[in-house]
């Protein structure tokens, strides 16, 4: 049974914006509204497409939300994989998420949902200990699952935030 805070859902605010940066999709009749925009990596290491050939954008902004690709522990400056413990990987991921979300005008406080993937359920409490440090107040809705993660990582976070 998940702790009750996992059931704490934050309603997403729907907001429109008027920028139409590169990579945006603009609907006919709604020219002033960029419906879908790629959020570029704020630092080279967060572009997994370029670093590792993953065919994905770091994040997409659409309909007032930001959808982030699954994030693993990558050094933001060098792009090198930083395998470690659940704690060290989760810390690195949150630091990178902060960079990514803030570059798009959002923040860790504005995360609405997290899918937290770990390599083994036995580390659930370890994940929680570090996780709560980064979302101390009114934490986002969350689901934790144990799965196989790319390249031998122990943690991956899949995040949706309010733009």
């Amino acid at each position: 049974m998940p702790p009750s805070h996992e059931l704490f859902a934050i309603a997403a605010c729907y907001a429109f914006w008027s920028l139409a940066p590169t990579g945006s999709l603009v609907r006919p009749g709604r020219q002033e509204v960029a419906m879908r925009a790629v959020i570029p990596a704020p630092v080279p290491g967060l572009d997994l497409g370029r670093e590792y050939g993953h065919h994905q954008s770091p994040a997409i902004r659409a309909g007032g939300l930001i959808f982030c690709s699954g994030m693993v522990a990558i050094n933001p400056d060098t792009g090198e994989r930083e395998h470690g413990t659940v704690t060290s990987e989760a810390r690195r991921i949150f630091e990178n998420l902060k960079l990514l979300l803030e570059s798009a005008g959002s923040s860790l406080d504005r995360i609405v949902q997290v899918h937290a993937m770990i390599y083994d359920r036995i580390e659930y409490d370890v994940l929680n200990r570090v996780y709560r440090q980064y979302v101390p107040n009114a934490p986002p809705a969350r689901t934790v699952m144990s799965v196989q993660i790319e390249a031998g990582f122990k943690v991956m976070l899949d995040v949706t935030a309010a733009a």
């Binding site: 729907y14 990579g23 999709l25 419906m35 879908r36 790629v38 497409g49 050939g53 993953h54 065919h55 994905q56 954008s57 770091p58 994040a59 997409i60 659409a62 309909g63 007032g64 959808f67 982030c68 690709s69 699954g70 899918h115 993937m117 699952m145 799965v147 196989q148 993660i149 790319e150 991956m156 899949d158 949706t160």
Partner: protein
């Protein structure tokens, strides 16, 4: 403001596995600005039968079917914002990725890939969120 919610009926009923198998899910649901597509496994669009194959073949079949489903709703693969790919083994990541990139030639969606145990003998399952 109350957001709308509408179940999407695929124009090809073979793609509606929920109806075929009596499962309690809709192939896709429109909610607010988005269409949420259920996890899809490889299905032969002519017969509705499972189309088991390699990771590459299943990925191709699923993305083709999702493209048709989205187009029937007035959306398209170009309007997909997030994709979750579930594969039976992360060793096959690159086999999925190589086919996947053909379907999203520019500005690909945000994506999460993970290795899980799938039901029905499938190797790949893909779910996505697109703009309505």
């Amino acid at each position: 403001m109350t957001l709308s919610r509408q179940v999407i009926d695929p124009d090809n009923p073979s793609l509606d596995q929920s109806q075929k198998s009596g499962l309690p899910l809709s192939p896709a649901v429109r909610g607010g600005d988005f269409v949420f597509v259920s996890g899809m496994a490889a299905i032969d669009p002519a017969t509705g039968a499972p189309a088991h194959g390699t990771v590459a073949a299943e990925t191709r079949q699923i993305l083709t079917n999702i493209g048709r489903l989205l187009e029937a709703t007035g959306s398209s693969l170009a309007e997909v914002v997030k994709v979750n790919v579930l594969i039976y083994s992360m060793l096959e990541y690159e086999n999925m990725n190589a086919v996947y990139r053909e379907f999203f030639p520019t500005d690909p969606p945000a994506r999460t890939v993970c290795g899980v145990k799938l039901i029905g003998g499938h190797k790949v399952e893909i779910e996505c969120i697109a703009l309505a």
